[in-house]
């Protein structure tokens, strides 16, 4: 299992557009990918669940990945939060 924390640097937070990209990214892997904010953890496959976490710019979240391809999935997720999110 891989767990990593990220600070959301995009001003609008994790809104609908980046959430869409993230869900699609997660679909490429067999590993179970979850997102945790505070005490709440949701699977990275539901717009409703991700949006209802109200993730804003400056918030800290954790990503939890578990499965066979967790290493490559973690790299993709890392790229998403450190590079791609800014442009979405």
């Amino acid at each position: 299992m891989i767990t990593k924390d990220y600070i959301i640097t995009a001003p609008q937070g994790l809104h609908a557009r980046p959430a869409t990209t993230l869900i699609r990214l997660a679909k490429n892997y067999t590993s179970a990918i979850s997102l945790k904010k505070g005490d709440i953890t949701v699977r990275l496959n539901s717009m409703l669940n991700i949006l209802s976490l109200t993730i804003k710019g400056g918030d800290t979240i954790s990503i939890i990945i578990e499965g066979e391809d967790e290493t490559t999935a973690a790299e993709a997720v890392d790229l998403f939060f450190t590079e791609q999110l800014k442009g979405l």
């Binding site: 640097t9 539901s46 409703l48 400056g58």
Partner: protein, 571 residues
Amino acid sequence: MIKGIGVSAGIAIGKAYIIKKSEAALTGFLLKNDAEVLADIARFDKAVGIAINEIENIKQNTSLALTDDAISILETQIEFLSDPQLRDDVVEKITTAKRNASDALIEVTAANVHLFESMEDEYLRARAIDIQDISNRILKYLNKSEQGHKQAFEPDTIIIAEDISPSDTITMDIKHVNGFATQAGSKTSHAAIIARSKGIPAIVGCGDGLTAIKNGDVIILDGAAGSLFISPDKQLTDDYTQKRTEYIARSNKLKQLKEVPAVTTDGTAVKLLANISSAVDMDDVFDNGGEGVGLLRTELLFMNRDSFPTEDEQFEFYRDIALRSMGKSIIVRTIDIGGDKQLSYFGLPAEQNPFLGYRAIRICLDRTDLFVTQLKAILRASVFGDLKIMFPMISNVQEVRAAKIILEQAKNELLQDNISFKANIEVGIMIEIPSAAITADILAKEVDFFSIGTNDLCQYTLAVDRMNEKISHLYDPFNPAVLRLINYVIDQARRHKIHVSMCGEMASDPMATLLLLGMGLTEFSMNAAAIPEIKQSIIHTYVSTAKDIYNKVMAMGSSQNIIRFLQEVTT
């Protein structure tokens, strides 16, 4: 007149067309057995599948000429439609409560819409309509009764609706739509985003007032002001027709200039920056082609409240601005209270000469507790963008050194608490007191940049209170004494290889642009709206011309001559 939230600027004049949405009603009939349960789950899955196909088709329909914004909204809708949580909830209602597929979806949607509508975050509240919209799409295929509207509108139509769903704005034939107004909605509704990206004036959140409008009523809609007029008289119509012409001309000019770099004809790059007071001003900065913020006033953060803002409150203020800065530099001026800016909760006694009194850095060096709090908040936000710190009202080198020591103290406190910040954050000072201007050579060794505040520099140099009407004619930024001070500051900054910018009113005066450029100034900070006009003068001039103007002006003895000369050469 009806007031709403202007979400897409521009003026539209046209005839009202009212879109009414029929609400899907619960049928109330229950499923009788497991076979019916399975059949309705299958019916739901099939309807979702058709709805997704429909969106894929819209996406691929090249004749719609969809913008990137529109396509990404459609992508998001597909994810909403295929949300496993939505399916789980609907299937749960079908299996355990024996609801038919349509009723199950209506109930689940109502709960989700309610959840999002009650959220604190404005953006998320606006997502309620997306959730309703995708539900309506599925329902359309569950019951054949619902009709989507794909209408062709008459020329010059203004659409009036309770709300407009994202798919409406995309599939509607908007060729003839001049504008739209809705009762509900907010600045972050997808409908608002689409309106902006297609350049259609729009107002949302107009409330019940819109119900007074009938089909065919003549409507004037001002998308910037957020106002709407029903059946206007001739005078008003003429006024707004005129305004519309001006708006189109101005926005075309702005658009042309926005992407044009501020470079002189002979290749000197000039930085045009903006003076701002809060995060919401950032949109204006970029819309006008600004390349960053040359002055962030922090007073707004301290005004209209009962007590000093906490470090966390201040941190959020600076962070929100940093997050919107697109990596451009932001110069944060530490608090400039006192003088004419008073805080009700900070009892400063009345002074004989408030402008020569206890204000700005003088308060900060005395009340170091307040100063450290602000510096820590700025430092913490510095990891989110290119923030720089600027001290106002510096009159001598000791003050700069004292302020820098307190900055180090703030950094140490953060280090001890293991909080990250930008360690080598740049530090600069305002040059607005004549003693600072005259000792620019000494001060330049202490800091990374200067910013010339011409308003106070002029008032202090000429001993003129510009609020005093009897002597306001003596307030004269083109006085040779003021110009010599400015010239000396720019020259010393260049000799010591530090940045120098100007953030006073002179920076936005087109009459002064060439003169300042001739002095060697290449960073100008002003109200965002003034940027295009200054850019216009810069891109049409040679630095050699500017140098020539500067040499002639510096040889003149009176500001009357200087002003007359500058008027001649700049028009």
